[in-house]
């Protein structure tokens, strides 16, 4: 167990290192790029060269990368060009907002998907199963920006019940809670289709098992069969998939945050990418991969804990 965990941790560290190098090389391979970015398009080539030499950017890529790593380990992520502030300040602030949104969406999407998936998988081929499965296909087919347009058209424009943007400032008389409803709804709907399908498939599989048939035949009531026998086993396979949704909910919400002007991590990455804010892109990419690795790691451990057949 310990050996397995250490191996996984080493693998995570190696991946993070590889990704950080790739992102660094991609952005800073050409020596003039960074200085050009700082000085702007109207600086002369001589000025760019001078600043490049002054900042030591004309030295080999590997040397600069090792220096960069050293700074990162000391907690210095550099300065953000667009926010005119240390990257660390911007990053943690935005990440906090996104974690807030993601936590709410996760708390809604998981129980809802388990409920719908179980209801659908309980009786394969029933009207309920077909209805829920079709609903799942529909919500998974609508891109987040289109779902945002549909929901905002109905609930913000037509009915006027909710605000169309979620900037987290209590302006225009909308409470923070009401601002979170539409972004969370879009995230939940988009994510749900996939989760429901996975849980349904697992449930169908379990319901075909002999022990479930035995329980039914000995006269046990259906809710008891589901809760006592089927559900726990049906949740083993989708467990990892459920945890991997954290990945999407935290790092993949660029679109939802852009639709609703939500000041989160995703929109920060989009702004950084559009403005070529290199320090911010590098730090953000590292955080995104770190979150991805962490959820995978927790998923592996949890999976082993849930399934007694797996010993790691």
């Amino acid at each position: 167990m310990i050996r397995y965990l250490l191996k996984q941790l080493a693998y995570m560290a190696a991946t993070l290192l590889a990704v950080s190098f790739l992102v660094f090389a991609l952005n800073e391979f050409a020596p003039g790029d960074v200085a050009r970015k700082i000085l702007g398009a109207y600086a002369t080539q001589e000025q760019v060269d001078a600043l490049t030499a002054e900042l030591g950017l004309d030295r080999p890529l590997l040397v600069r990368y090792v220096e960069y790593l050293g700074r990162v380990f000391r907690g210095d992520l550099g300065e953000s060009l667009i926010y005119k502030a240390p990257v660390a300040d911007v990053l943690w602030d935005r990440l906090g907002n996104t974690l807030y949104l993601a936590a709410i969406a996760f708390a809604v999407v998981v129980p809802l998907s388990i409920m719908l998936g179980t209801l659908a998988g309980m009786r394969e081929g029933s009207i309920m199963d077909r209805g829920i499965s079709l609903f799942g296909v529909f919500v998974a087919s609508v891109p987040e920006f289109a779902m945002g347009v549909f929901l905002a058209s109905v609930f913000a424009v037509w009915l006027g019940w909710l605000p169309g943007t979620s900037q987290l400032t209590s302006g225009a008389g909308w409470s923070i809670a009401s601002q979170l409803v539409l972004p969370v709804a879009v995230m939940v709907l988009y994510d749900m289709g996939y989760l429901v399908a996975m849980i349904r498939a697992s449930m169908v599989e379990v319901m075909r098992q002999p022990y479930v048939r035995t329980a039914v035949l000995k006269g046990m009531s259906m809710p008891r069969v589901i809760f006592r026998h089927a559900l726990r086993n049906a949740m083993i396979a989708p467990f990892t998939v459920i945890l991997l949704q954290i990945n999407y909910l935290v790092a993949g919400v660029v679109v939802v945050e852009t639709v609703f002007a939500y000041p989160g991590f995703g929109r920060m990455m989009l702004e950084a990418a559009l403005a070529k804010d290199i320090a911010l892109i590098e730090a953000g990419a590292l955080v995104a991969v770190f979150i991805a690795m962490l959820t995978q790691f927790v998923g592996d451990i949890g999976y082993a804990a849930l399934d007694p057949r797996i010993r790691i």
């Binding site: 991946t15 590889a18 990704v19 992102v23 991609l26 952005n27 296909v137 529909f138 998974a140 087919s141 609508v142 891109p143 987040e144 920006f145 289109a146 347009v149 549909f150 905002a152 058209s153 913000a156 424009v157 037509w158 169309g164 990945n247 999407y248 790092a251 993949g252 660029v254 679109v255 852009t258 639709v259 995703g266 990455m269 989009l270 950084a272 990418a273 559009l274 070529k276 892109i281 953000g284 990419a285 995104a288 991969v289 991805a292 690795m293 995978q296």
Partner: protein, 288 residues
């Protein structure tokens, strides 16, 4: 001497035939109709679109809502939305298949080689694919497109790189199982070359599992192209693409919701079409 072949595994994994899949599945028929509709729209756009998609009709700006002259209205620059949606269908239906084809070729090639050779080649390719898959796709788009800029070619490349690992996993799994089959060993023993075994003995059996996946992949790629357009890192303006149309008009949703609604409906319906078709094909395959 007679040999009993009934217990032997089937030589070929069945390739889902379109006709039987369609016959038994309302989902597949609906999906095919929707996709067929958009293909027709895309093909006919140059002759059937009522206006030039980039032409600004300033007179229409007084009232851009749907009217007899502009069935779906105009956008805030006075451009006809119907014409832009029709031309936008051309964009997405040209880029999505090319991107999916590129991802499938890359993923299938790597999957065949890795699944057949196993060993360190397999381990190395699988690791790289794991890293790509663990990256949130959209962050990868941002990092790559921020560096290389937005163009049709870059969109195709980004999608190929991010989708290929999924194809790789499917093909690798099937190949690993197929290489144990007797006809593959037979081919190897009669001295056929490495590439011959891959291309003639294994490749034809990959088509079945892949064809369903290609449909799903087309749906996801349509979403991806829309998302890139919406984020402003898709095709450069002014040429119409559905995601870009939503991006331009979204801030006006409280004044003229139709400008963002129609392209949103267009992209959603096409993805639903692809996904329904995929479900129909999968059911057909299971029945076969």
């Amino acid at each position: 001497m007679t040999t009993d072949t009934s217990a032997a595994p089937p030589r070929r994994i069945p390739f889902p035939r379109l006709a039987p899949a369609l016959a038994g599945s309302p989902a597949a028929v609906t999906g095919l109709c929707i996709v067929g509709f958009w293909v027709l729209v895309a093909l006919l756009a140059p002759v059937a679109a009522p206006y030039d998609p980039n032409q600004n009709n300033l007179a229409a700006l007084a009232d851009p809502t749907p009217s007899a002259a502009h069935w779906l209205g105009t956008d805030q620059f006075g451009r006809d939305i119907l014409s832009r949606i029709m031309w936008g269908a051309r964009t997405v239906l040209a880029i999505a298949p090319i991107a999916v084809a590129a991802a499938t070729l890359l993923g299938a090639f790597l999957g065949l080689v890795a699944g057949y050779l196993r060993g360190w080649v397999d381990a190395a390719i699988a690791r790289v694919c794991d890293v790509i898959l663990s990256f949130p796709v959209i962050i990868l788009y941002l990092v790559i497109l921020a560096k290389f800029g937005a163009s049709a070619l870059n969109i195709v490349l980004v999608i190929a790189v991010t989708k290929a690992p999924i194809i790789f996993r499917i093909v690798r799994g099937v190949t690993m199982e197929l290489r144990q089959r007797e006809y593959v060993s037979a081919a190897r023993m009669r001295g056929e070359s490495f590439w011959y075994v891959l291309a003639v003995e294994i490749l034809p059996n990959i088509r079945g599992p892949l064809s369903v996946d290609v449909c799903l992949r087309l749906g996801y790629t349509t979403i991806a192209i829309g998302v890139l357009g919406f984020l402003g890192i898709g095709l450069p303006p002014p040429d119409p693409d559905w995601g870009g149309m939503v991006k331009e008009s979204y801030s006006l949703i409280f004044v003229w919701p139709h400008m963002a609604l129609f392209p949103s409906l267009a992209v959603s319906s096409l993805v639903i079409g692809f996904n329904l078709l995929a479900i129909g094909l999968r059911e057909g395959q299971r029945r076969a």
